[in-house]
């Protein structure tokens, strides 16, 4: 998935994650996101969140994580508020809201509240891992990789990644142009905020086709349509490539083996059940340590 922020958020930095090739750094971020999807136990989810936060700070991508967190908090809020209202499972009733028309009797259960919070936490960790990817994985390399797999998808992704910043800058210019009108006209536009936004969106979309054609022409001239002949950068595998790939495999392996081994059992319905033993603590520590190990490298940080 190419997030809109990809084209805007990536900045090459002298950090181990940036020094790794896109396939390795992408696999690392993806492994953390998948780990969050696979586990339900709050302790392990917190461990993955700590791993992502540590990786983000080491990769000097704190601002990208903060942006991701702001977005994720909406999910947490929505999940925590809506799940208890929509999901009537669970045995421990903590509030009775009476009959609400078509919703029937609204009894808020502790299990539904916790389920919503855990879902929100999981969504938060996934969003943070993808935010980290948008800030630390080179989108140019991702497109090259993607192109080897699917030419059409890569073409669409290439156009999208270029169009996002182009249209964003068009929108900024159009908005500034509106403010350049005579004072009373500009004031009127500011007052009618919705009309202002609609006008900008309409103007941007009317120029989007021209912009897309220009970018497509540029892609054509650069031989993009010579499908299937693209060669990669041809670099040797560095210590950072290997370390991040190994960490990605290890994190996933330990989470999957833990699940298969019955460690970190957690269920919300019908009653909250969670295992809180040394196995869970060891798994949590293992996830964090394995995720942080490749970040300790201090040599060869630029490429």
């Amino acid at each position: 998935m190419i997030a809109p922020g990809v084209a805007l958020g990536y900045r090459r930095q002298a950090t181990p994650l940036h020094a790794a090739r896109a396939s390795a750094s992408g696999a690392y971020c993806l492994a953390l996101a998948v780990a969050a999807v696979l586990v339900e136990h709050p302790l392990i989810l917190v461990a993955v969140a700590v791993a992502v936060a540590g990786a983000g700070l080491r990769a000097r991508s704190g601002s990208a994580l903060r942006r991701g967190l702001r977005l994720a908090l909406w999910f947490v809020l929505l999940a925590a508020l809506l799940n208890p209202l929509l999901d009537h499972n669970g045995l421990t009733v903590i509030a009775r809201l009476g009959h609400l028309g078509p919703f029937g009797a609204l009894d808020v259960t502790l299990e539904a509240v916790v389920h919503g919070l855990v879902f929100g936490l999981r969504a938060t960790v996934v969003i943070l891992a993808l935010s980290l990817a948008s800030a630390a994985v080179d989108p140019d390399e991702v497109l090259t990789l993607l192109r080897r797999v699917s030419f059409r998808s890569a073409l669409t992704a290439s156009l999208a990644t270029r169009m996002v910043p182009l249209l964003a800058s068009d929108a900024r210019r159009l908005s500034a142009a509106l403010r350049c009108r005579p004072e009373q006209v500009a004031r009127e536009w500011r007052r009618r905020k919705l009309a202002h936004d609609v006008a900008i969106v309409r103007a941007v979309t009317s120029t989007a086709l021209d912009r897309a054609l220009d970018v497509a022409a540029a892609l054509e001239l650069k031989g993009y349509a010579l499908a299937g002949r693209c060669s990669g950068p041809g670099r040797r595998w560095s210590r950072h490539d290997l370390a991040h790939l190994a960490a990605a495999v290890s994190v996933l392996a330990v989470v999957i083996l833990g699940r298969l081994g019955g460690i970190a059992h957690f269920s919300t319905y019908p009653r909250l059940e969670a295992a809180w033993g040394p196995g869970e603590v060891a798994l949590a520590l293992g996830v964090v340590l394995m995720a942080w190990t490749p970040l300790l490298g201090r040599r060869g940080l630029t490429r």
Binding site: A7, L8, Y10, R11, R12, D138, P139, D140, E141, L143, T144, S158, T161, R162, P165, L166, S169, D170, R173, L174, A176, A177, L178, R179, C180, R181, P182, E183, Q184, V185, A199, R202, A203, T207, R211, D214, V215, A216, A217, A218, L219, E220, L221, K222, G223, Y224, A225, L226, R229, C230, S231, G232, P233, G234, R235
Partner: protein, 547 residues
């Protein structure tokens, strides 16, 4: 044999009433440097798009005739295949770069053509060295200035060492220094690699001296094809708007043959004893005392009577968070009715100054005072159009003042470059009868992509605005346009005003920030236009004869 050959080529865009090209036949030999001239909408860009295969493969439409590039027929080879033999650089570098970093952008076409990783790496290094962009290789595309972006786009076009390069106004967004550097680079590639160059350019005075040949287009056909010197003679007779200022100067004096650059113009004037080794003959009637620098200007202003202030900036700083200072303690005062040209390199802070004047951004420190409305027209007039009809964009009075009567039912995007510029100006200034008139009109690079006649109309319009009491300030890279409309010039560098004076003084004394006439005459007498120069030299001859 031919590097680039058009054989009776006609072309009509899909849905267009008139063909863009009509029976064009043209052969550009390998290693030739060919400049394509012509007014707006004369078919120049379509010619270039036919050379690289975008016409007809990408644009569709009706195509007749035959184009061959490096031996490849464009009918049977699409742009992706032709890209191996022809490198293309279009007007807007922003839409031509498709990758996120400079290194990836330069490698991209080579990778697409299936080159081995080592060959790609070598190609990137070589083109970066050739264009002097080695230090940019690991920079992000969105961190580059306009000039740097244009060089990177050129680098991507040259990566596979194409035998032909076609360029559509590559210097239109560059300051004079960067523009000259790009043209020198093209000349070097042409001489060292024998690359065939087809260059479209409006500012012919910049590139004619480097050209081997000039092709002029008019109404979709080739109306002139020959040597640069012959082109100047032809332009003098048939298309004066295409003639360079140096040629116009010598023609006004009745001298032949017309020169193609400053060096030839000076030699011609020397041969007729109008210019000696030290410069032109002194002419007391036109020569004015030179007063360069801000202090001199300030002294001069202190002596002059006070006039109504339209814009006042004091101690203005603009600093980007975690970034550089764009403006550094700038002081500026504009009087009502003043016509001011603002010049300086790319990144000197010109656009920021205009944005601060309008209030689009807040200064970090310092004050901006404007008693009335500051109308700002930014670089792209299309950004101001929100409706489907010209009449819906601006009030009738403003349209009439902009000379746009009769165009009310047209779509704004169907107007010519000059008309779009005047419509955008009408939008930002509004109707003086129904709203308070703008006291300052600021324009940022309004002449990009404009031909000379459109520039003339715009200069007339700006003079009329100033005549009505507006202070007009124009940020421009075009000294010829500055000379045509301004009375005062400002030069910015590193966020400061480094020179402020009458346009006759500032634009006649420099090299980069000077008109071609001023460069020919070495700045004598403050002559900036061919008419001024001819008057100066005639006066010099009369004085000499009388003495």
């Amino acid at each position: 044999m031919s590097g680039l050959c058009f054989d009776d080529v006609s072309y009509r865009y899909p849905g267009a009433q008139e063909p863009a090209l009509r029976g064009v036949s043209l052969a550009v030999a390998p290693g030739e440097f060919c400049v394509v001239a012509g007014a707006s909408a004369s078919g120049k860009s379509t010619l270039l798009r036919a050379a690289c295969g975008l016409v007809p493969h990408f644009h569709g439409g009706e195509f007749a005739g035959r184009v061959t590039v490096g031996g490849l027929d464009t009918r049977s080879h699409g742009p992706e295949r032709l890209g191996a033999v022809v490198g293309t650089l279009l007007q807007d570098p922003e839409t031509q770069v498709v990758m996120g970093s400079v290194r990836a952008e330069l490698a991209f076409p080579l990778q697409n053509r299936g080159q081995a990783p080592n060959a790609v790496a070598r190609g990137v290094e070589e083109v970066a060295l050739a264009l002097g962009i080695g230090s940019l290789l690991d920079r992000r595309i969105d961190e580059l200035s306009g000039g740097e972006l244009q060089r990177v786009a050129l680098g991507a076009a040259l990566g596979g060492r194409p035998t032909v390069v076609v360029l559509d106004e590559p210097t239109s967004q560059l300051d004079p220094v960067a523009g000259d550097e790009l043209l020198s680079l093209l000349r070097r590639l042409n001489e060292e690699w024998e690359t065939t160059v087809l260059l479209i350019e409006h500012r012919l005075e910049r590139c004619l001296a480097a050209a081997d040949r000039v092709v002029a287009m008019g109404d979709g056909t080739v109306v002139f094809d020959g040597l640069p010197a012959d082109f100047q003679s032809w332009a003098g007779r048939s298309a004066p708007a295409l003639q360079t200022p140096a040629a116009a100067l010598t023609e006004a004096l009745g001298l032949r043959p017309p020169p193609t650059g400053v060096k030839q113009a000076r030699a011609l004037l020397r041969a007729h004893h109008l210019l000696d080794a030290a410069g032109p003959k002194p002419t007391p009637s036109l020569a004015s005392p030179t007063a360069f620098g801000v202090r001199a200007r300030v002294r001069a202003r202190r002596r002059s009577p006070p006039s109504e202030v339209a814009l006042k900036m004091r101690g203005l700083w603009y600093e980007i968070a975690d970034g550089p200072a764009i403006l550094r303690g700038l002081d500026l005062e504009l009087a009502a009715g003043e016509r001011v040209a603002l010049l300086g390199r790319n990144g000197a802070g010109k656009s920021t100054l205009l944005r601060l004047a309008r209030g689009l951004v807040e200064p970090t420190r310092g004050r901006v005072q404007a008693p009335g409305h500051v109308a700002l027209l930014m670089q792209n007039p299309g950004d101001y159009f929100l409706h489907e009809r010209v009449a819906d964009e601006a009030p009738p009075g403003a349209l009439a003042r902009g000379g746009l009567d009769g165009l009310q039912d047209r779509h704004p995007r169907d107007l010519s470059g000059g008309q779009r510029q005047r419509l955008a100006l009408a939008i930002v200034t509004g109707d003086p009868l129904s709203s308070p008139a703008a006291t300052v009109v600021a324009l940022d690079e309004p002449t990009r992509g404009m031909d000379r006649s459109d520039k003339g109309l715009l200069a007339d319009h700006l003079r009329a605005l100033a005549g009505a009491g507006c202070a007009v300030i124009v940020a421009t890279h075009d000294p010829e346009f500055a000379a045509a409309f301004a009375a005062r010039a400002l030069i910015m560098a590193e966020g400061r005003l480094v020179a402020d004076g009458p346009v006759r003084e500032l634009l006649s004394g420099g090299w980069y920030f000077a008109t071609e006439t001023a460069r020919v005459l070495g700045g004598a007498g403050g002559a900036l236009t061919p008419e001024d120069g001819a008057q100066l030299l005639r006066a010099g001859r009369t004085v000499q004869a009388a003495s």
